[in-house]
Point group: C2
Chain length 108, copies 2
Amino acid sequence: MRRDVFQAIADPTRRAIITLIALQAMTPNALAAHFDTTRQAVSKHLKILTECELVKQEQKGREIYYQLEIERMKDIDKWLEQFRKIWETRFNQLDELLLKLKTEKNGK
Amino acid sequence: MRRDVFQAIADPTRRAIITLIALQAMTPNALAAHFDTTRQAVSKHLKILTECELVKQEQKGREIYYQLEIERMKDIDKWLEQFRKIWETRFNQLDELLLKLKTEKNGK
DNA sequence: TATATATGCAACTATTCGGTTTCACAAGTT
DNA sequence: AACTTGTGAAACCGAATAGTTGCATATATA
């Protein structure tokens, strides 16, 4: 049962949870109110998110507040980096091409 | 059988395929050589990647070259944007805090 | 033409996934 | 002490997932 961040964000409900708790911590009950599923289902999602350390919890009385561990999101960003490099390079190449065309036109 | 980019990159083999074909197109056979699975399994991954338009194919004789449709990767980047904002804000807040501490020290 | 190569698709299988219902337990409230 | 509330865990279920083997088809090569 190896958990990783990419598998965690594959599910749309989990992505929604992540967005909800990104700015402020929330309890499972409060979260469940946002979805068309049971609290238990949300609890299972939170467990998965906890397993890959995307989420941290803080107990307050009998309530447990879950919040996003935003540092983990950088792992995704880091993976994306290699592709960002590619699309930025291509963008620059396009830019140079346009500049070249412009220069040629002016030279004529 | 709803396909989306996040589900596509959930599988580690598919992520590896994506990286391999990001810079140059490759055939299923050539790809399969990189993994410990059958060519047919790779073919299935390519089908999934094609279904969510992460990959484009070009036929050359009896070979089919697959290449990454890098534009689609920006969808992930776009989703990450909201979190990038958060972690940059926090970074700036830390920055301001340090600046404030420094100023206070100098003022003393 | 006969053969080898590159590929996709169908059928099958074991495992995982996302959900539900039921239960147990701890912490507040009456 | 009795009750309510917030939670996690277990057992179960149908669907999806990732893989396999076997087959069909198209293109190149002898």
